[in-house]
């Protein structure tokens, strides 16, 4: 029948109108859903189909030197946290048995209770399970067990150089040492993956919205620290502490010709892989960089160098030693008494006579007083040239600054500077003293102390550029020569018999009082020794410090033997041929 034949008001015409109406509703609804609500439903679909994953960057590894070759000191290991969904577990006894058999040492104490807690959906039952253990557990085919991969740091050398390395906490953040200072470089940058996945979460290449930004792995850093030197330094220090009864000690070994640190040993120590077991957090501190103290008589070398460099004194010059010297209203005495009369400054250095170095400070002024000129000169040399009381910028966390009181400060008076002449009244760290001392003996070139020698790139060791002095002309080369001669003569006169023959070894003892409750303690001293060794030129600087609560430790008796032990070993290790 032709449409035109439909009569007005006929049932067929009404049916056609209804169908048309329904079709119109469909069209309108579809238009609403597909056009107006297009964005909303696309977003819903993407949320359902797209998976966004973080691609974790691999944390950079840390190497140390072993002679000329880098060796790994810190690596990454993937371990697994094992969890259960107790409501899904069908054979709880078997789960418990398998877990005990395969991962006994890693199982948590409440494992059995967790497995039987049917009302819970997620319980961790074991931590730090290895891949092999995880595979064995999976092979048992038990329901309700899951694994979560976790990356952790591994320190195969255990306690060796722990304060230099630092550790990584549970959040993946580096703390203390190199891990803390170079955290950002070691961490790298995580990548991300946005992709359509199937029901098994397998990424599919279909779709035009897939995004893949690969992770940038962290930098593999090579330290200048030599693990053999470090190991010997730690052993020598441990032996020294046992011998002397000291409870704390530090050793710093540096190459004076480029500022590279070869060893930094501190006792007590800890294992970075078990940092959470440490009871006393002070064990994390690297005392060589973070514990400023009054270096004591080691600083006499700086005072003498200043005097020689300013042409106010020579080693062979004399002064009248009365074992005491008056500075304003204070009287300063010598620890070693009896070397009175007209004596040389060489003798003053050999016997560490305070009066001799206060005299040097006076000669930097008008000869009788440590006036403003003398104080300005000492401040310039100590602070600006030898860089005591300044951050060295070494690449380790928690470096402390110390302090050298300026002559502009009301406390920077003559009494203060007379004390500074023999190492009191100022605070400096061992790395500052060693850095300044290196410039003092190497001809006057100050190198920034550094712990980083380079990095590993595609398995190849890329050395940093050859270090250049941060400041040249700290002192004149002739001053440096005279200082080496003085220190060598001082050592030969008293302790030379302990050194290997045919080498130039020199140094200075230091015994400094400890400030307790704002006053110098009469029952506690820190013993230090600061020295160098080599043949024609110095090849290493060693600084030793030993201390203990209520212990009177001396530089010559307690710290010097540790220096001697390490120094003689270094001459062999570095294959330094004797002179001539």
């Amino acid at each position: 029948m032709k449409p035109s034949a439909l009569r007005h008001g006929s049932r067929s015409r009404i049916l056609a109108a209804v169908i048309l109406g329904i079709a119109a509703i469909f069209v309108i609804r579809l238009f609403y859903l597909q056009v107006i609500q297009h964005g909303h439903y696309v977003a819903l679909a993407q949320a359902e189909q797209m998976t966004r994953e973080r691609i974790p960057a691999k944390r950079g590894e840390i190497y140390a030197m072993s002679g000329d070759s880098p060796v790994k000191m810190v690596l990454n290991e993937t371990v697994f946290t094992v969890f259960v969904d107790p409501s899904v577990i069908t054979k709880p006894k078997e789960v418990i048995t398998v877990m005990k058999q395969v991962a006994g040492g890693n199982v948590r104490d409440d494992m059995e209770a967790s497995v039987n807690a049917k009302e819970l959906r997620y319980r961790v039952i074991a931590n730090k399970v290895t891949r092999l253990q995880a595979e064995k557990i999976k092979d048992a085919g038990l329901k309700g067990i899951g694994f979560q991969a976790v990356s952790q740091r591994v320190y195969p050398e255990e306690t060796l150089a722990s304060q230099v390395l630092g550790f990584v906490d549970t959040e993946g953040e580096g703390k203390y040492g190199l891990e803390g200072f170079e955290n950002e470089a070691l961490k790298g940058v995580d990548g991300n993956l946005e992709t359509v996945t199937d029901v098994s979460d397998i990424p599919l290449t279909i779709g035009d919205r897939n995004v893949r930004n690969p992770a940038v792995d962290g930098k593999d850093i090579v330290m200048s620290l030599d693990r053999n030197v470090q190991s010997h330094a730690e052993k020598a220090l441990a032996d020294g502490l046992q011998r002397t009864g000291a409870t704390r000690g530090s050793v710093l070994i540096m190459n004076p010709n480029n500022g590279q640190v070869l060893a930094m040993a501190n006792l007590p120590t800890y294992n970075p892989g078990k940092y959470f077991e440490v009871q006393d957090a002070s064990a994390f501190n690297n005392e060589t960089i973070s514990a400023p103290y009054e270096p004591g008589s080691d600083v006499k070398t700086f005072t003498m160098a200043t005097g020689i460099d300013k042409n106010v004194v020579r080693a062979s010059d004399t002064f009248n030693n009365t074992d005491t010297i008056k500075v304003e209203d204070r009287t300063i005495g010598n620890a070693t008494k009896g070397k009175t009369g007209t004596i040389t400054f060489q003798t003053a250095l050999a016997f560490s006579l305070n009066t001799g170095f206060v005299t040097v400070a006076q000669r930097l002024g008008d000869g009788k007083n440590i006036n403003r000129t003398a104080r300005d000169t000492m401040y310039e040399y100590f602070h600006d040239r030898f860089r005591l009381g300044q951050l060295t910028g070494i690449e380790l966390s928690n470096e402390a600054k110390g302090i050298i009181i300026s002559p502009d400060d009301p406390d920077g008076n003559a009494v203060r500077y007379s004390n500074m002449a023999f190492g009191q009244g100022l605070d400096a760290t061992m790395v500052q003293v060693s850095g300044g001392f290196s410039a003092l003996i190497n001809g006057g070139n100050y190198f920034k102390p550094t712990i980083i020698a380079g990095e590993m790139v595609d398995g190849e060791f890329k050395k940093n550029a050859t270090p250049v002095p941060l400041q040249s002309g700290v002192i004149q080369p002739s001053t440096s020569d005279q200082m080496r001669e003085m220190m060598q003569a001082a050592r030969v006169s008293s302790f030379g018999r302990y050194d290997k023959q045919g080498y130039n070894v020199g140094g200075k003892t230091g015994t400094s009082q400890v400030i307790k409750n704002g006053q110098y303690s009469n029952t506690e001293t820190i013993g230090t020794y600061l020295g160098y060794g080599g043949a024609e030129t110095p090849e290493y600087v060693i600084m030793v410090s030993v201390s203990g609560d209520n212990k009177e430790l001396q530089g010559s008796r307690d710290a010097l033997p540790i220096f001697t032990d390490i120094s003689n070993w270094m001459l062999d290790y570095l294959k330094i041929q004797p002179k001539g």
Binding site: V71, K72, L75, N76, E77, T78, T130, R131, V154, P156, E157, E158, L160, D198, I202, P203, L204, T205, I206, R227, N228, S231, K500, L571, D572, K575, Q577, P578
Partner: protein, 116 residues
Amino acid sequence: MSNQSTSYYVNRRQQNWSRNQNTTRYVSAIKLGPVAHTVLVALMIIVLGLIYVTQATRTTGYDYEMQKIDSQIADYDQQKSELEIENTRLTALETVKNSSVAKEMTASSNTQYVQQ
């Protein structure tokens, strides 16, 4: 309407081809109605759809293959990493010092250098 052509549209090229040739136009005797056309179009759409689905599935198959290979690479990387750790542990100074070989060693005497 007859399907047999009664009129000719002769363009220039056909004219060239046709030169000195007797061209004959064959007309199929099978006649398709609108229903058959519709069915054929639907079949073509289905075939094209099947081809698309086959290709898309094949791509997905590659994805599974890639995922499998990626997984293998990750496994090998992890095994390599574990071996490196084991190697580093075995060559750590403390391990070496405590080894039976090291315990048998004697302390070295003073190093002597030969003058050349």
